[in-house]
Symmetry: C2
Subunit: 152 residues, 2 copies
DNA sequence: GCGGAAGAGTTTCGATTCGCCACTTAATTC
DNA sequence: GAATTAAGTGGCGAATCGAAACTCTTCCGC
């Protein structure tokens, strides 16, 4: 067995390192949250997050480089620039909410407010869970690693 | 840290900043992944992740301090120490998997292998999604913020 | 018991990154 | 055309990271 295979065996071909390459830095998730909240301009990110301007500049261009945000100069006011979530960026919402819900559950004194609701029935969304292909909820004990080529 | 309080003032009481306070640093999620893979000893974390020993030491005690890992000296060999996931730590699994699945979807050349399966039917787990209270899958457009005291 | 080795850190120190503040540049408003 | 706004960039001291060497305790073989 070659070294590459051994490496794969040890930690598998895992999507976590590349994800952290993009989102693992200090402000990335907070910038993402702001973007989900409708912030699009540099100055608004800056004042909303209280982040240093040079760091913000670096993080925004990093997120753009990785395709999470799209940078478009504003039509009607060409001083302004819009940073908008791409589809790839929107797909980070489950990860962000899972992290947020964990933070709410464990490290907050008061219950969260305001709360995220479904627009159709105005009820709070469900906690994010791991599910089997058929929809059953799973916990850590129910999970196992399996090689793709292995027979079931 | 005072910054969290400031953040709360600005954008509501959100669980994300405290979650990032715990898990936002460079190696925290990778250490967590290793813990989920059954790693318990300092030396194994070190060789598995290729992280500098001083940083690993700092991250582990940070995770212990925040109640994600529990540190217990080994019974039968008192040179060794075990770092095990607490319930609070186990509850990070959905967030970690959501991030991992995102990384697999967008930033990996080859499909992931091995793959995480349900032990009961040996089928791969479902993608992690946001759901309404009644189980319907939701996307970003279906979500809204609502004050707790507000009438529905 | 004793020499050697393993496990879990700690120290040291150079390299990198962070973060505050001032500055620049271009577009817009008055 | 003067002042203001938006989006950055540059300088510089402080904090953090990272690799390697070192410490300290515990275990193993003899």
């Amino acid at each position: 067995m070659g070294r590459v295979q051994e490496d794969m065996k040890r930690s598998g071909s895992c999507g976590l390192p590349p994800a952290l390459e993009v989102m693992g830095e200090r402000w990335s998730f907070l910038i993402l949250r702001a973007a989900f909240n409708g912030i699009v301009h540099f100055e608004n990110f800056s004042s909303e997050l209280g982040i240093a301007r040079n760091i913000l500049s670096d993080r925004l261009s990093r997120l753009v480089r990785h395709g999470v945000l799209q940078r478009t100069p504003c039509e009607h006011d060409r001083r302004k620039v819009e940073y908008r979530l791409t589809e790839k960026g929107c797909d980070l919402l489950p990860a962000m909410l899972a992290l947020r819900q964990w933070g709410e559950k464990y490290t907050m004194r008061t219950p969260a407010n305001p709360v995220l609701v479904d627009t159709r029935d105005r009820r709070p969304i469900a906690p994010i869970r791991i599910r089997a292909a058929d929809g059953r909820e799973l916990c850590w004990r129910d999970l196992a690693w399996q090689d793709r080529s292995e027979p079931s």
